[in-house]
């Protein structure tokens, strides 16, 4: 799968708190389509806030890892791919939320695939996990 490597890079960047690495795999604007609303990350600051939120969640408990697998890819012309992704979070090898699925769309920018749209219900386990008390808004990846 062409986008698995980008997805893995993003997951490792979130676990390491490495925004520069994370940003390599993200396009701006990036659109988050939830089941109740659409959120647009159209600035570096907005992308950074989203990153900080998710990286903070993963860092809150030692040993947490984000496990994401591309199940299917749909090419949309030559420069776009929509990937069906299964995600879950593990802590010391044990799943702490059930796997759930989302769609991530990637755009080919130069020679790199960059995520530019995520379709994921807010009601998903990850979104619920990411909306713990003290966390503003939603985050889905």
């Amino acid at each position: 799968m062409r986008t698995q490597q980008v997805l893995d890079q993003s997951s490792r960047a979130l676990e390491a708190g490495d925004f520069v690495l994370y940003r390599r795999g993200k396009d701006i604007p990036c659109v988050l389509i939830h089941d109740t609303h659409t959120e647009v990350l159209d600035t570096e600051a907005a992308a950074r806030r989203n990153f900080d939120k998710l990286a903070g969640l993963l860092a809150a408990k030692p040993g947490q890892t984000l496990v994401r697998t591309v199940l299917h890819e749909q090419a949309i012309g030559g420069a776009l791919i929509q990937s069906l992704v299964r995600s879950h979070v593990e802590c010391n090898g044990e799943a702490i939320i059930d796997p759930f699925q989302s769609f991530i769309t990637y755009r080919l920018v130069g020679s790199n695939w960059r995520a530019m749209m995520v379709v994921c219900p807010v009601s998903s386990r990850w979104a619920s996990y990411a909306s713990l008390p003290g966390m503003e808004g939603d985050a889905v990846w």
């Binding site: 604007p29 659109v31 389509i33 089941d35 109740t36 659409t38 159209d42 776009l80 989302s102 920018v109």
Partner: protein, 140 residues
């Protein structure tokens, strides 16, 4: 559900063919997201959506008699209120192929008891834009 989504897409086709913005906008979410090969347009209100619609309509108006068709290939629910639809867009004039088939993905959300279009990923738009003098700034 498949039939309902196909009906919605057919209605969008008619709206474009007829330049009928009211029919088009009736079932769109805001912000509406139009994804092309190399850019993403965020249409935050009806005025911006109108500008994009007019430009897209201008792009196909140079092909009189064009009939657009969306064939629904797959429909993937994401929870109860989101759908991702993979479609094949094609176009004919007097029964003859005028637009080569291209994969277009649409994202729909259930709002006010109806499926509404939230995003379209259409690699053809950049090519159509060349015909219709669509601005790079689009409706952003």
């Amino acid at each position: 559900m498949v039939r309902r989504v196909q009906e919605i897409m057919d209605r969008y086709c008619e709206a474009f063919e007829n330049g009928d913005f009211a029919a088009f906008v009736e079932r769109c979410c805001l912000p509406f997201v139009s994804v092309w090969d190399q850019e993403t347009l965020i249409l935050r209100d009806h005025a911006a959506l109108r500008r994009l619609f007019d430009r897209e309509y201008a792009a196909i108006r140079h092909m009189p008699g064009l009939r657009i068709d969306y064939e629904l290939l797959t429909l993937a629910p994401q929870g109860a209120r989101l759908l991702s639809a993979v479609t094949i867009l094609s176009g004919k004039i007097n029964g003859n192929p005028a637009i080569d088939p291209v994969t277009v993905v649409k994202v729909l959300r259930m709002e006010n008891d109806e499926w509404r279009l939230g995003a379209v990923m259409n690699p053809l738009m950049a090519r159509l834009a060349q015909h219709g003098e669509m601005s790079q700034e689009g409706g952003r």
